[in-house]
C-alpha cells in the first residue's frame, strides 16, 4: 500500500472529526480502515479523544450559581433604579430647556435693562445671558458624568456573600 493512501486516510480521519467528509470519502475511508490496522488504530484513537471530550461533565458549585443569581437580581434592581433616576433627570433637563427657550426674550430684556441701569458694558450682560443658558446644561452634564462613573460593574458586588 503506498504512503499516499495512508496520508489521504489520515487527512480524512482528521477532517471527519472536525468538518465531516462526503459520502464517497467516507466509503473510501471505511474500506481503507478495514484493511489497514495502523490507520484504524489512529482513527479509533482520535474517535476516543472526541468521545472523551464529549462525555465529560463539570458542574459548577450550586452555591456559586445561587450567588450569581442573587447578584444579577441586585444589579438588575440597581440598573432599574438608575434608569428611573436618569429618566427623571432627562425630564428635568427637557423641562428646563423648554422653560429657557420660552423665557429667553424676557431674560434678554431683563439683563439688558439691568446692564443699562448699572451702566455695564454690553459684553458683560451678554455673557450673563449666555451663562443663563450654559450653566444648567453644564450642571446636568456633570451629574450625568458622575452617575456614569458610579455604574461600572464590580463596586456593587463588594460586601455581598459569595
Amino acid at each position: 500500500m503506498s504512503e499516499d493512501v495512508h496520508k489521504r486516510a489520515e487527512r480524512l480521519i482528521a477532517t471527519s472529526n472536525v468538518e465531516g467528509i462526503s459520502a464517497p470519502d467516507r466509503e473510501w475511508l471505511n474500506e481503507h480502515l478495514e484493511s489497514c490496522g495502523r490507520c484504524a488504530q489512529r482513527a479509533a484513537a482520535l474517535e476516543q479523544v472526541v468521545v472523551t471530550l464529549r462525555s465529560v461533565s463539570i458542574p459548577p458549585d450550586p452555591a456559586v450559581v445561587e450567588a450569581t443569581r442573587r447578584r444579577v437580581r441586585v444589579r438588575a434592581a440597581e440598573l432599574h433604579e438608575q434608569q428611573v433616576r436618569l429618566r427623571a433627570l432627562w425630564m428635568a433637563c427637557a423641562f428646563s430647556w423648554g422653560l429657557g427657550v420660552l423665557s429667553a426674550p424676557l431674560v434678554w430684556w431683563a439683563l439688558q435693562w439691568i446692564g443699562e441701569h448699572l451702566a455695564l458694558p454690553t459684553a458683560v450682560w451678554t455673557v450673563a445671558f449666555l451663562l443663563w443658558w450654559t450653566v444648567p446644561a453644564a450642571g446636568a452634564g456633570g451629574v450625568l458624568a458622575w452617575l456614569r462613573t458610579r455604574s461600572p460593574s464590580g463596586e456593587y458586588l463588594r460586601g455581598l456573600p459569595r
Binding site: 472536525v18 464529549r54 465529560v56
Partner: protein, 202 residues
C-alpha cells in the same frame, strides 16, 4: 425554493429564531426572570468553558459571575440574530482576556499555563454504574491532564467544538479568528491530544 421559504419551512430554524428574539427582547428589558432561566440553562456549558479556558476553578467561578453581570448590563447589544450561546461565550472570553491582561500583559496562552497543575475537577455525565463512573472519571482525569498540557488556543477551540457543540463559524465568531485558523487549531489540537493520551497509555 428561495432562502426565506427554506427558512420558514424548517420548524427548527423558526423555533430557534423565535427563541433568540425572545431572549434579545428579555435582555433589552433586563428581565431578571429571563436571566434566572438563562443562568439555569447555560450554567454547565459556561462554567465548563471558563474552567477549560482558565484552568482554575476559582477564576472560572469569578468569571462565571462577572459574565452574567455583563450579560445583564450589555444585554441590549444582543440583537437575537446569532445564537445566544455564541454571544455568551464571546463575553466570557473577553472577560477572561481582560482578567489576564490585568494580571500579565500576555496572550490567552498564559491564561492556563501548561506548567500549572490542572485544577479541572471532572465528573461523569449521565446515569452510569459505579464501574462505568470510575472508568469515566479516570478517563476524564487523563483528559484534564492532557488538556492542561495543550496551548490555550487549541484547548479553547476543542472545548467549543466537542463539548459545546458549536459550529465552526460560531467558534470563529467567539474567538474572533478566521475560519481557517479555527480549523487549523482544531486539527492540531486533536492531533496533540491524541499524542498526549497515547503517550500516557504507553
Amino acid at each position: 425554493m428561495d432562502t426565506a421559504a427554506c427558512w420558514f419551512a424548517n420548524p427548527a430554524w423558526v423555533s430557534m429564531e423565535r427563541e433568540e428574539k425572545t431572549i434579545a427582547r428579555g435582555l433589552r428589558r433586563r428581565d431578571p426572570e429571563l436571566l434566572d432561566g438563562l443562568i439555569e440553562r447555560f450554567q454547565y456549558r459556561l462554567f465548563r468553558y471558563l474552567l477549560f479556558l482558565t484552568g482554575s476553578r476559582e477564576t472560572a467561578e469569578d468569571l462565571f459571575q462577572e459574565t452574567w453581570i455583563r450579560v445583564l448590563e450589555r444585554g441590549r447589544q444582543y440583537d437575537g440574530r446569532s445564537k445566544f450561546e455564541t454571544w455568551l461565550f464571546a463575553i466570557a472570553r473577553h472577560l477572561a482576556i481582560d482578567l489576564l491582561r490585568r494580571k500579565q500583559p500576555q496572550s490567552l496562552e498564559a491564561l492556563s499555563g501548561s506548567n500549572e497543575e490542572s485544577q479541572i475537577p471532572f465528573q461523569t455525565s449521565g446515569e452510569r454504574s459505579a464501574f462505568e463512573s470510575l472508568a469515566q472519571r479516570e478517563e476524564g482525569e487523563r483528559l484534564a491532564a492532557a488538556l492542561a498540557n495543550l496551548p490555550g488556543s487549541y484547548r479553547e477551540v476543542l472545548v467549543l467544538r466537542f463539548q459545546e457543540e458549536l459550529a465552526l463559524e460560531e467558534i470563529a465568531s467567539v474567538v474572533e479568528a478566521p475560519l481557517s485558523t479555527i480549523k487549523s487549531r482544531l486539527y492540531r489540537g486533536l492531533e496533540a491530544m491524541r499524542e498526549l493520551l497515547e503517550g500516557e497509555r504507553s
